[in-house]
Each structure stands twice: as C-alpha cells, then as structure tokens.
C-alpha cells in the first residue's frame, strides 16, 4: 500500500514565526501532539511537538537525569515556559524533519517511524509542500 492510501489529509501546521504560545494554544484546542512547521509558501521546514516544548522548558540536566525529581517545583517549569512563550517556533522546532511522499510504500514509512521513534510523519509533494500526515495509527489501521 502507498502513503496516499493511508495518510490523513490534514494540513494543520504552524509557521516558523508563530510563537510557542500560539503553538500551545493550537495543540491544546486541536488535541494534536505535534504539527509540521511550514514556510510562507507552505513548504515543510520543521516539526514541533509538545515533547519539544517540554524539552525546551526543562533544565538542561533533565535530559541526562530523566526524572523531574530534581526540579524544585512546578512554578519553575511555568517560569521557564513563560520565558520561551514569545519565542518563534523556529527556535525550538526539529529542523531535520523526516518526511515522505505520497507515492512511497507503507513499509518505508513504518521503518522511518520505528527507527526515528516518531508518532507522525509529514507527507509532502514534489515541491516539498505539506499534503498531509501519516500517523502511527494510520499504519496500524491499514495493517489490520
């Protein structure tokens, strides 16, 4: 099966210059875990998820310790979030984004998702424009 047969045709995205606050609003309202970042033409230039925002707001040592035990209180996290709230998304997004074309095989996407531990992979056309998304659940649904 090809990507075009299983993908979700949704173009929910943010622009590079939108702020982290805009992103949190969108993710909260839409209940999406993350969205592609596009430039003014609609080309995919990155991806940003709630995980990336949390990683940006947490102290650097969190990644090493992998526990919230060393964070004094939740207010510190809130303060860190406030500090990055007005930042442009481009500052915190994943730039090296994994994407696929509509013509690629489902097995290839499955491989990308597993190898990169991804939840969602943007689908782009031959000009790099966002045309949808492949979610893990899309693949599972197609396999069943």
């Amino acid at each position: 099966m090809k990507v075009k047969d299983i993908m979700t045709r949704d173009l929910s995205s943010v622009c590079e210059e939108d702020t982290i606050k805009d992103l949190i609003y969108l993710l909260e309202k839409s209940e999406l875990p993350g969205v592609p970042v596009v430039d003014q033409e609609g080309r995919v230039v990155g991806f940003i998820s709630e995980r990336d925002v949390i990683a940006s707001a947490l102290p650097d040592y969190f990644e090493m310790l992998r526990t919230a035990f060393y964070i004094p209180d939740i207010n510190q996290l809130s303060k860190e979030l406030e500090e990055i709230a007005s930042d442009p998304i481009s500052k915190h997004m994943v730039e090296d984004v994994v994407s696929v074309s509509e013509e690629e095989e489902d097995l290839h996407v499955a491989d990308l998702i597993i190898r990169n531990d991804l939840n969602r992979v943007p689908v782009v056309d031959d000009q790099g424009m966002l045309s949808g998304i492949v979610r893990r659940i899309d693949l599972l649904g197609a396999l069943l």
């Binding site: 979700t8 045709r9 949704d10 969108l26 309202k29 003014q40 045309s131």
Partner: protein
C-alpha cells in the same frame, strides 16, 4: 485544487416530524427520522466534491467536540482539512421538516463562537498559502462573531490577486461588501432577507434589477435561487431562467440543496465547462439532493438524470439581450 472557506461551520441536525406542536397542553413532538452531519455552506460543497473524488481543501474555524466531529466527518468524505482552532464549541444548526408540508424547513442557526484576533491573523497566512494551490475558491456562509463584515471582500481581492476565481454565497452586510470586489459568481443568500442592495425581491423583474446592480461592479455572474425549482443566472449581457420541469418532484430534505448547486457548478467550471452548462449541472445536483433524506446526493447517476428535467429560457430585459 478547489478551496472552500466556511468561517462559521456547523453540525447540522435535521429532524422530520409528523406534526410540530407549538400550542396546546402537550408540546412534545417526536421525530420519526433524524439525520446529522458536518455542515456549513462551504463544508457541504467540500463534501459534495470529495464524494466526486475532486481534490479540495476545507478551511474555517472550528472548536470543541463539535469541531472535532466536523473535522473527522469531512475527512472521511475525502476532503483535505486545514481548519483553525478557536475556543468554545462549534455551533449546531437545527432544521425541522414537517411531513406533508410543502413549505420550507424551520431552521434555527446558532451564532457560533467568536474568533480571537490572533487566530484570525493565522487564518490569513494559511488562506494566502492555500490560494497558491487553488484554481477556484468557494467562500460561503455566515460570519462568526468578531470577524469584520468586509472579510469576504478582502478574501475575494486576495484570491483575484493570486489568479484564483471565486464563488461567493452569502447574505447580510458581508454581501454588501463583497459586491465591491466582484467575484466570478455571487449568489445572494435570501433566506433571511429578501431585500438585496435595497431591492426587494418580489418578482423576476426585481431579481434582474438587483443582478444588474451587482454587475455594475466587477462581478461576472449573479445567481439567484428562486425556490428549489427555479434559478436565475444573470451574466454580463444575458440572463437565463433555469426551471425544473418535473411533476413528481418530492422534496425530502432541502437542507444543503443550495450547496449542491454551488458544488455542481464549481465541479463543472473546474473541468472547463461553460458557465450556463455548469449552472445547469449544479441545479441538477441540487434537485437530486433535495429528493434524498441524506444531505447532498451521493448517486451521480441521479444528477445526470435530473439534467434532462431542467429547461433553460433566456430572459428578456429592457435594453439588454433578447428573448429566445
């Protein structure tokens, strides 16, 4: 690619009742049939096109559980979605159809949640982005709170600048504004008010006068639905009346009929069809749709069959065109 914009989408709930009790001791009316679906004029057009396998993108503002239900149901019809999310809950519109009543449905439409300024700004960015992919843009329906009356006019202007042809179906103050920018087709929504640009639409002559008034600006065609069975198309130099000649026409669900009309028109125009033929096809789509309980007819063979029941008459206007 066809773009549809529904700034104030809705979840449509349609009830069929034998009788609607409005007075007396007992006021409970039970529906013997009900139907619900994603709605709003542009979304209906998108669903129509999606069922035909036509690539199209639906835009607009959605919110809450209803917004999620709309997004899901539109996507299941083969439509690409690009909605902006806002606070609150997308509206639910209710229509009640009474058995054996030939008159129009009783419709109650909610106002919809307000659109925050920052989301409106993001919408504009997305809209301009989507115009780069589109050949036609269908802009229709009411406006949600907090959105300026001239938004449709501005959208038409931007679309024209991007080389995208526009079809606008709306009423109220936004109609007065959009007239100034001149879309390809303007279809005034006359469900709430039968007075357009100060012209009370009482007969065919008044419809033609109103149409000519609109065409004085940059609009190419004005289309007016004259009941379910008759449309008037007014072009730069000629005008036509399209009429359904069918004795056994049984209207089951009028909701979405006008959107099937627009859907059929844009489908044919995008396919390279001439305007009059496209409108005829659109009207066949509308007639086929209103004869179904389900909103928007799925069976395209019925649409093709209905084309045979539509007659076209050129209208005589003082100083313009000729009578055929």
């Amino acid at each position: 690619m066809i773009l549809t914009v529904t700034l104030n989408p809705a979840f449509d709930k349609i009830y069929w009742v034998k009788d609607l009790k409005l007075e007396g001791e007992t006021i409970l009316s039970r529906a013997y049939r009900s139907y619900s679906s994603a709605g709003g004029k542009g979304i209906n057009v998108s669903i129509y096109l999606g069922r035909l396998g036509v690539d199209n993108i639906a835009m607009g503002f959605i919110a809450g559980h209803t917004g999620r239900a709309i997004k899901r149901s539109v996507r299941e019809e083969g439509v690409t979605t690009n909605f902006n999310w806002i606070d609150g809950e997308t509206r639910t519109n209710v229509a009640i159809l009474r058995k054996k009543h030939k008159d129009r449905p009783i419709e109650v439409n909610e106002q919809g949640p307000p659109v925050p300024e920052k989301v409106l700004r993001q919408f504009w960015t997305q809209y301009e982005m989507m115009l780069k992919r589109a050949s036609y843009a269908v802009i229709s329906g009411s406006l949600p709170p907090n959105v300026p009356d001239d938004i449709y006019a501005r959208m038409v202007k931007k679309a024209k600048g991007a080389g995208v042809k526009t079809i606008v179906n709306t009423g109220g103050p936004q109609l007065d504004e959009v007239v100034k920018e001149g879309p390809l087709i303007l279809k005034p929504d006359i469900r709430e008010s039968k007075t357009i640009l100060g012209e009370p639409l009482t007969d065919q002559a008044s419809v033609l006068r109103m149409g000519r008034k609109i065409l004085q600006n940059d609009t190419d065609y004005v289309l007016v639905s004259y009941g379910v069975t008759g449309d008037i198309l007014i072009g730069p130099e000629r005008a036509w009346r399209l009429q359904v000649d069918k004795d056994d026409l049984e209207i089951k669900n009028e909701v979405g009929g006008g959107d099937a009309l627009i859907g059929g028109i844009v489908y044919k125009l995008a396919d390279g069809e001439e305007m009059l033929e496209a409108v005829k096809y659109g009207m066949a789509s509308a007639v086929a749709s209103v004869q179904n309980y389900e909103k928007l007819c799925r069976d395209m063979s019925l649409v093709h069959a209905e084309r045979e029941n539509i007659s076209v008459t050129e209208l005589k206007e003082e100083g313009i065109g000729s009578e055929s």
